[in-house]
Symmetry: C2
Subunit: 347 residues, 2 copies
């Protein structure tokens, strides 16, 4: 979910693309509007999935809208994304994803084959992730009133109460290590290279993947994972910046340790993007106890979705409330939320 808690100044009379960026403007919208009016203790926790206590069980419940443009890109499509994204939101809560809903807003005139391919892709990814799409809705709007196809998925997972701390992150302590399950920026650069206006064929594949199996392996290996979050819109930078701010912790990343493929780095340089802020759709950031970091790194690397996993930083006592990057050339710079929108409609 993307109703998260921060305190940002400012207000705009009209909605900007940046309000959908996952950055500062999105936070403003959430604070000034959604949290203010929907105000309740579950929402206010600001967890990735809502954690619900239903008599006899504890559930994770989440939703995401997908408006990616184009619908198909190397390594995925809007359908796959709509399943992975929601599966991952549940899995990073420490819950086991079980059921999804799927709601379609379709533009009149859309080629039926396109819709069919998207639906097939959703079905394949749901099977792959071991979840079932159990309810849905379809609306069609007049030609020109939406852009081909938007999908909103919601998901329910079952949560063992002993894992409730994972989405809150309230057991994190200085010295904890930060692990990622592979290279960053692949999804965003794949979508960018697939956009018609770009005459680039960069051959970059989206990393979109359901991470629940990888996460389950890690949770089986350790009962002490402190925190998880998938680094989607806004990238790795947004996850660590939010983590530092919301928990008043110091976060320190080492640039040389963060996996980025040469292709992604090259395209980012060409287009003027910082890979730290580029969207991923198959990357989880874990905060783990120092004494289990190597074991968990190995566990991740043994999984097909974690071969290039790396320890990329740690929680520090310095600069609480801020995330810093130790740069390749020995300097350091603050990692803040994006102010505007870098890549609209990346997911």
């Amino acid at each position: 979910m993307d109703f998260k808690i921060t305190n940002m100044p400012g207000k705009h009379p009209n909605i900007l693309l940046g309000h959908g960026s996952g950055g500062q403007l999105t936070h403003e919208l959430i604070d000034e509007l959604f949290l203010k009016y929907f105000d309740n203790d579950v929402l206010n926790m600001g967890t990735d999935s809502a954690l619900l206590d239903i008599p006899g069980s504890s559930l994770a419940f989440t939703t995401d809208a997908f408006v990616v443009d184009p619908l198909f890109f190397p390594g995925g499509d809007i359908g796959k994304l709509s399943v992975c994204g929601t599966v991952n939101d549940i899995a990073v809560s420490g819950a086991k994803p079980l059921y999804l809903s799927a709601s379609f807003i379709i533009e009149e005139g859309l080629d039926y084959t396109i819709l069919k391919n998207v639906v097939k892709s959703m079905a394949a990814e749901a099977k792959n992730a071991g979840v079932r799409i159990v309810t849905g809705d379809t609306k069609v709007v007049e030609k020109g009133k939406c852009d081909k196809l938007f999908i909103t998925t919601s998901g329910i997972g079952i949560l063992n109460k002993k894992h409730r701390h994972i989405s809150s992150g309230n057991t994190i302590v200085p010295g904890d290590k930060i692990i990622i399950n592979g290279s960053i920026g692949d999804h965003g650069m794949s979508v960018m290279s697939a956009r018609n206006e770009l005459e680039l064929r960069a051959d970059i594949c989206s990393d979109s993947a359901s991470l629940n199996d990888l996460i389950r392996h890690c949770m089986d290996a350790s009962g002490h994972i402190r925190f998880m979050r998938d680094a989607t819109r806004g990238g790795l930078a947004t996850v660590v910046s939010e983590l530092a701010k919301s928990h008043y912790l110091g976060v320190q990343l080492e640039e040389t340790m963060i996996p980025v493929t040469d292709k992604v780095r090259g395209l980012c340089e060409l287009l003027g993007f910082d890979p730290l802020y580029v969207a991923n759709e198959g990357k989880v950031i874990m905060v783990v106890p120092e004494n289990e970091a190597m074991m968990l790194l190995k566990t991740m690397q043994d999984h097909p979705l974690g071969k290039t996993s790396a320890i990329i930083g740690e929680i520090v006592t310095e600069h609480p409330g801020n995330a810093w990057l130790l740069t390749r050339i020995g300097g350091r710079r603050v990692i803040d939320l994006m102010a505007g929108e870098q890549l609209p409609r990346i997911c």
Copy 2:
């Protein structure tokens, strides 16, 4: 939910507005695409909400996209609708609605005040219905790529296992009576009269309302309600037609018994609409045992949302698989699913 089961012929290479009508084309899309590829026993049940068994509890889970145009109309707005619609889908399953998610797709440039008023309306209706909006998402698309604002809500309710038969309707028998909690067509005609292109000020108010309290009163009064469904897109006609087809039952409605206000009847005649097919957003159709029908009618009439409730028909042994209307002038005609789209973007 609107993935329901029927068997309809035909196929179109492009998506038509009728694919979003709730009528025959929607059923085709669902059968040929969603049920085919998402195939699983929960989905295949075709209930309004998915009925889920999570260790220790039974849940109802549903989703709906709202694309109503205009965003504000007499008696409601897209925000109120997005809460009522999902609350009602859960309530007609016999479940108690507890939690909602809300996902926003916003057009760049939307006036912030509009969004704020919609959010306030959602918050007010959630409070009124006794549910909490616990998770959400926000996406912004470029100007011209969606029409102001689309909202998808999903909902979770807790279901007592003894009420599971209500959404399946598998205890219905001939002789059962059909009750509705008031007049039909008000929502659709309110939205029509609010559309800019119509220079009508018909002073018709949408019936949009959360029905969970009314339904709870009825369920408290009787343990034998056989079936419930809210009559939204496609109207009363679609509910009874689907009921007849999916259960191979005969349904007989009496036109003179069906409440329609003079204003709605007048506007329908003017515009050439059949009120039976016009959308409602605060109407539930109940199938109840004959010997409890009068008591349940009285229970409904005592509730603020059921003052003009009426017994409008019954389940018959004749014409299984079909719904018939005994007309005002003494004839009878079949009530079928809509073939195309009568009122696009009515919800």
